[in-house]
């Protein structure tokens, strides 16, 4: 098992820069998710760690050893592809045993290791089946088996659940996490699905346009987003942004929001007047007649346990998550009250979070 360190890694294709100088460390045994929209550079980063792509600049260290320009085969890592890449001309057992065969291991030892791996994944009964006959979930298990059988230093997974249907994906999330807890292998997991990342990862790196926007636990990236991008990308519906203009003083516990004062977590930096955004998660909004921000109910989405109510205010449309028992009439004018302790402030110019008592110590990429 291994620690993976990425230093100033950059990758350009002709004019296009896919990954821009990110630096981070993935600790030994961590389940590390790289999350971002398509084209954000997460897969390219993963492929550079695997050795399938060579970086333009920067370094990749595996357990302190510089492997930046080593061949993929020399890195002792395993890769799980989105389409599984099971060899169609081999059966399940041969697929799982293939990496060992590449290493020139003896036939008997291969068979033992394949058996052991299959037992762990509960696919022993499939060993002599054709891969084309398998269900999506079983293919996924075989792909995992092929990765595990070699006992590599780290697992790299590129949207391994992307090809499964939603129901199965949820099941496999649980299995993957369970597997990780048992074998404790460093895992780098690339996905664009925040639910997958949130439910499985110890650490999440949120990427955008080739940059790491934030690295943190699922709780950190959700509760204390480092930038407007992260706040918007994570959470469904995303964080509401209410724009206003004003200056900030360290130690203040309220901001001048248009005509009123709004309580916010204690501010920890001084700022000259500039366009700012107040970030509010939908679940931190309550309807209250005394609310400082008023608006008209535009629509409601009933989700069973909660409902998402959209309200048109003078500062834009705001989504609020309310208990499904709350009765809401469309067109009704209501006041919105925010949970002051959970508000976030952003500088619109840079898109970065402003330091407050609740958003202290977030790690930018």
């Amino acid at each position: 098992m291994a620690q993976i360190r990425i230093e100033n890694l950059r990758k350009s294709f002709d004019q296009f820069t896919a990954v821009e100088g990110s630096t981070f460390t993935i600790d030994d045994g961590t389940f590390f998710a790289m999350l971002g929209p398509s084209g954000c550079g997460k897969t390219t980063t993963l492929r550079m760690i695997a050795g399938l792509e060579l970086p333009t600049e920067g370094k990749i260290l595996l357990d302190g050893e510089d492997v930046t320009f080593h061949r993929a085969a020399a890195r002792d890592i395993a890769f799980v592809f989105q389409l599984f890449a099971l060899y169609p001309h081999m059966n399940v057992g041969e697929n799982i045993g293939f990496p060992l065969k590449c290493q020139g291991m003896g036939r008997r030892e291969i068979r033992e290791r394949v058996q052991e791996t299959a037992r762990m994944l509960q696919i022993e009964h499939l060993l002599s089946s054709k891969t084309s006959k398998l269900s999506g979930g079983d293919r996924q298990r075989v792909a995992l088996g092929r990765a595990m059988v070699r006992r590599p230093k780290a697992f790299l997974m590129d949207e391994p659940l992307g090809a499964l249907d939603a129901e199965f994906r949820h099941l496999m999330c649980g299995e993957l996490r369970d597997l990780h807890d048992r074998i404790k292998a460093t895992t780098v997991y690339v996905t664009h699905d925040q639910l997958e990342a949130m439910s499985m990862a110890d650490q999440i790196a949120v990427m955008n346009k080739g940059r790491v926007e934030q690295i943190g636990t699922p709780r950190e990236v959700y509760d204390r987003p480092a930038s407007m991008f992260v706040a918007d990308f994570i959470g469904s519906p995303p964080m509401n942004f209410l724009r206003f203009e004003g200056g900030l003083r360290s130690g203040d516990r309220a901001v001048s929001f248009h005509d009123t004062r709004l309580a916010v977590p204690e501010i920890r930096e001084d700022r000259a007047s500039a366009p700012l955004a107040l970030g509010v998660r939908p679940e931190h909004i309550r309807f209250a007649d005394a609310g400082a921000v008023r608006g008209e109910v535009f629509g409601a989405e009933y989700l069973g346990t909660t409902q998402i109510v959209t309200v048109d205010t003078a500062y834009g449309r705001v989504a609020a998550r309310l208990p499904s028992s709350a009765s809401v009439r469309i067109g009704e004018t209501i006041g919105l009250e925010f949970n002051a302790a959970r508000l976030a402030l952003f500088d619109i110019g840079s898109g970065l979070a402003i330091r407050t008592a609740s958003a202290e110590g977030v790690r930018h990429g």
Partner: protein, 325 residues
């Protein structure tokens, strides 16, 4: 229209057309296939039959469908004969073999074997040799074009294709002069090189299409698992490209096997292949159609066998990938 009526129309129109063809459609399709088969197979059957006819039966009018089969055509194809007077033949010791007997009935004696066997061997060596080379080089080039970032890849591919944009015979004279300088005229090596050069562009394009269809992930998985690029190509990519390679090989073989113009121009003895040799048979001692038909039958056999051998892969090529993703 009421909802019920709409529904009945829908079920009616889909019942046969989508799920299964009606018996009448099937019979019609079957009839068409048989008609096509007859049209294409009949000339071939006629050739095979003519090879077993006597010379007079072969040119009889109206054509004879039922005739007394004889191996004269084949004997004539494989031997060189001289005409003798009946007196001379009567003085000879009795014929030793059935073919000696057959020949003597026509007042001839066998003077030795004809050149058909060496010509046939030439065809085999040149045809299969150039096919192997074209497919081998084509596979490597197609793989490189498919997987690596090659500067000016599109232009190079166009350049490769452009070698097929005129009939190869258009460059016959320059090639003839070039080959004379290089002492390649009438050599097997020369013919192999020539056919390879013509076929390789087709092979690159066909195979690139097939290799493009194979997801990169397969070989990337193999690379991560410990294979070198060449090992991954051999053990992972090639087994999956078998279909494409088989199809390409058949196309290449058919071209080099049937090629006539260059063979006439560049070979006369040593390296002569079957296509320019067959017309020679006509000239020797009258129009010996049964011998020509025998030569043609012999000529067709290897390519039919090759196609039948690879047929399994060709058929799989049609259905492979049809149900995935």
């Amino acid at each position: 229209m009421t909802a019920a009526a709409t529904k009945s129309v829908l079920t009616k129109s889909t019942a046969h057309s989508i799920v299964e063809a009606s018996p009448r459609t099937k019979a019609f399709a079957g009839g068409l296939v048989i008609l096509y088969a007859v049209i294409t197979i009949l000339p071939l059957l006629w050739i095979v039959a003519t090879a077993f006819k006597s010379q007079s039966d072969a040119i009889a009018y109206p054509p004879k469908v039922i005739f007394e089969p004889t191996l004269e055509g084949y004997v004539n194809l494989f031997t060189v004969r001289t005409r003798q007077t009946p007196d001379f033949i009567a003085k000879l010791p009795p014929p030793e073999t059935w073919y000696d007997k057959l020949v003597r009935k026509r007042d001839m004696v066998i003077a030795g074997p004809s050149k058909v066997v060496p010509r046939f061997v030439n065809s085999l060596i040149i045809g299969f040799g150039s096919t192997f080379l074209a497919v081998f080089l084509g596979t490597l080039a197609a793989y490189a074009f498919s997987r690596f970032r090659i500067p000016l890849a599109d232009d190079l591919l166009f350049f490769i294709l452009s070698t097929r944009m005129m009939p190869p015979v258009a460059v016959a004279i320059p090639i003839y002069l070039m080959y004379r300088q290089l002492n390649l005229t009438d050599t097997r090596l020369g013919m192999i090189l020539l056919y390879t050069a013509v076929n390789v562009s087709l092979a690159v394009w066909l195979l690139k299409g097939f290799i493009d269809e194979i997801p990169r992930e397969y070989e990337e998985a193999a690379l991560v698992d410990g294979y070198t690029r060449l090992q991954a190509l051999r053990k992972v990519v090639l087994p999956q490209a078998v279909t494409g390679i088989a199809a390409t090989a058949i196309f290449c073989l058919i071209f080099s096997w049937n090629e006539y113009a260059f063979a006439v121009l560049l070979t006369s003895g040593e390296a002569q292949t079957m296509p320019p040799f067959i017309p020679f048979i006509i000239g020797e001692g009258g129009q010996d159609w049964p011998a020509v038909a025998a030569a043609t039958t012999l000529f067709v056999v290897p390519i039919v066998m090759f196609t039948v051998l690879l047929r399994k892969h060709l058929l799989r090529g049609i259905t492979f990938g049809a149900v995935r993703k």
